[in-house]
């Protein structure tokens, strides 16, 4: 079953499984054709395969190769190749700063994903409960938040949290808090990441909420009635009816959010470039700064390889879920 797709325009649905038995006319070679029909599919997929191999496959391999080289300022200018084996990795793994970044990345990701899932679910349930007009109002507001380009919203958040004239300092003053006359919200790594979290949660909740609502509309009203007749409370209905029905949705969305937040770059970089003092860097930003600012391309590549490996763990779960869903269709 596909929770996300039902009740939407049929064209946007996940494709049904391809026909197991080919049509009778399908593989039979037709005499008029100059190209043997066995070649045709390969000609058709050729450009896509080449493009993916050159611009995605090769960089991934090259990333691993560079991570085994010493590639700093000197080697970049002289264009020499110096192999260091696993030197970059041991350097990284012995670096306290790297471990701080790893820990920070995981805490940051966990906080974000939990907030996104909890608020997304609650707002999805609320949407299901609203009347038609209010649902429209809330949906439009959610869609606009969702649609905002990351770079634009990061710029807007910088303005909201501006030290001198930011509206947030005014809000804090109006609420009676002291010390918000010229409060610098980007003073520490922690508060910077708190604002990044606000930005990411604000931008990601709509996706979860609207999909949650779409999923809820697929649950038949009779199920709720039956549960109510049996005396189930609302909390119990959620646990015993809604959650089991939407379990694939919850699992897939959680892993999607884990992957997205883990590799978040633009939000963090555009807000404060990983500063102050590199205190708000997560793994992707760390890899960027090591490379482009510190000119340690080998180390940066090693950090990037390790990040991709971590991401692949989350992705393997995600792909398994997607494949299972495809099979069930």
């Amino acid at each position: 079953m596909t929770v996300q797709t039902e009740g939407v325009t049929p064209v946007a649905e996940e494709p049904p499984p391809r026909d197991p038995a080919p049509g009778p006319a399908e593989p039979s070679p037709r005499p008029r054709r100059s190209l043997p029909s066995g070649w045709l599919p390969y000609v058709l997929i050729g450009p896509a395969v080449v493009a993916l191999a050159v611009f995605l496959g090769y960089p991934l391999i090259r990333n691993v190769i560079v991570s085994l080289q010493q590639l700093g300022r000197i080697e970049m200018i002289s264009r020499t190749t110096v192999w260091t084996g696993l030197g970059n990795y041991t350097e990284l793994l012995q670096d306290d700063m790297f471990w701080t970044v790893v820990a920070r990345t995981f805490v940051f990701m966990a906080v974000n994903v939990v907030l996104i899932m909890v608020f997304g679910t609650l707002i999805g349930l609320l949407l299901n409960r609203l009347g038609k007009k209010m649902r429209m109002v809330l949906s439009i507001s959610l869609v606009l938040a969702w649609a905002m380009p990351i770079v634009a919203s990061a710029t807007v958040f910088r303005w909201l949290f501006d030290t001198q004239f930011g509206v947030m300092n005014w809000v804090m003053r109006s609420l009676g808090f002291e010390g918000y006359d010229q409060h610098n919200w980007f003073d520490t790594g922690f508060s910077t990441l708190a604002i990044v979290t606000l930005l990411i949660v604000w931008a990601s909740v709509p996706f979860v909420a609207l999909n949650m609502y779409a999923g809820l509309t697929t649950i038949s009203g009779e199920l709720y009635e039956a549960a109510r007749m049996d005396g189930a409370s609302n909390a119990r209905i959620f646990r015993s009816v809604v959650f089991p029905m939407l379990k694939p949705f919850f699992l897939i969305t959680t892993f999607l959010e884990i992957i997205w937040v883990f590799k978040a770059f633009a939000q963090i970089y555009a807000l404060n470039a990983g500063g102050p003092n590199r205190e708000s860097e997560t793994l992707p930003v760390f890899a960027y700064v090591e490379g482009m600012s510190q000119m340690q391309f080998g180390v940066a590549a090693a950090a990037s390889v390790l990040t991709i490996l971590l991401l692949m763990i989350a992705m393997s779960f995600y792909f398994r879920l997607i494949l299972k869903q495809e099979d069930e269709q």
Partner: protein
């Protein structure tokens, strides 16, 4: 949020409707109705508060962009003002502004057009033909959708440097093309599968060649799918930031997202102009998204529409 798990039937919450006061209901009934009304009101109040919170940054961006300069930089924000377009003037008169617009449009349109053509061929083969390695290709396309581009910027920089294509709009177009390609194949595969095979076969029986059958029968039916798929590709490429940040250091090769992040440092405290720049950049995407909303919510969760 006191009762977060309260649920109504899928048809919506009928109890939000205020009770009609026809006849003379008993006291108990009146109280029950009042309680019911109250219970019907809190979700609406909550929804209004949430709607205000979620829309506020968008609203604040547009409202700041129209505020007279003297009212932007104030300790106490003003909510009512006579709108002005001066900030839009400042933003668009920046050196090279139209170059950035042209670059953004070029990379976006180029990437999406390439992706559509290449993906159309590939997804047609995937859906309608049987060949060795098809399953592997589908799997690869699915995984490529989640490619961690943000984490690959360093190696892309090195590759571009070696190939001497830094600051090249063409190279950026190719990268964006590959970024949107897996998603485009994945979605088009669904759209093509939705076209009944019999239509194509009927056309071929009537004497069409396979190419003709595709062009005359399938392609017209695919138009809406192509449209929405390309718009999502457009949004991805239009918003991309990490790659252009690494590859294009020369202002001549900036795209709008890069310009926007540099804008504020260049203009210091001119928040009116910065918000005008943000609005100009965000507006096309906001409009497209509202247009696409229904499609975005369904079906596309498998494809990373927005990270």
């Amino acid at each position: 949020m006191s009762h977060p798990t309260t649920l109504a039937g899928p048809a919506g919450a009928p109890d939000a409707v205020t009770p009609k006061n026809g006849g003379t209901p008993g006291r108990d009934a009146a109280r029950a109705k009042r309680r019911k009304t109250l219970r019907g009101i809190w979700p609406n109040v909550l929804a209004l508060v949430l709607a205000a919170l979620f829309i506020f940054p968008v609203y604040w961006m547009f409202s700041t962009s129209f505020k007279p300069a003297t009212e932007v930089l104030t300790k106490t924000p003003t909510f009512f003002f006579s709108p002005t377009f001066e900030h839009y003037g400042t933003a668009t008169e920046v050196d090279l502004f139209w170059t950035f617009v042209r670059n953004s449009v070029l990379v976006t349109v180029g990437a999406v057009a390439l992706a559509l053509v290449v993906a159309l061929a590939a997804s047609f083969a995937i859906v309608r033909m049987r060949f060795k390695g098809r399953k592997g290709l589908v799997l690869a396309v699915m995984m490529a959708q989640m490619a961690p581009w943000e984490v690959m910027v360093i190696v892309m920089y090195l590759i571009a440097r070696d190939a001497e294509v830094l600051n090249s709009i063409g190279f950026l177009t190719l990268i964006y093309f590959v970024m949107v390609l897996p998603f485009t194949i994945w979605t088009l595969r669904g759209f093509i599968a939705a076209v009944p095979k019999e239509l194509e076969e009927a056309a071929m029986i009537d004497g069409c060649s396979r190419t003709q059958a595709f062009m005359k029968v399938i392609f017209p039916l695919l138009a809406p799918g192509l449209m929405s798929t390309s718009l999502f590709g457009f949004i991805t490429a239009w918003n991309e930031f990490a790659m252009v940040l690494v590859l294009n250091k020369d202002p001549e090769a900036y795209t709008l997202p890069l310009w926007l992040t540099q804008f504020q440092s260049a203009f210091g405290n001119d928040w009116g102009a910065t918000m005008a720049a943000s609005s100009l950049f965000a507006l096309p995407v906001l409009l497209l998204f509202i247009f696409l909303q229904r499609r975005a919510v369904g079906g596309l969760s498998a494809g990373a529409v927005k990270g």
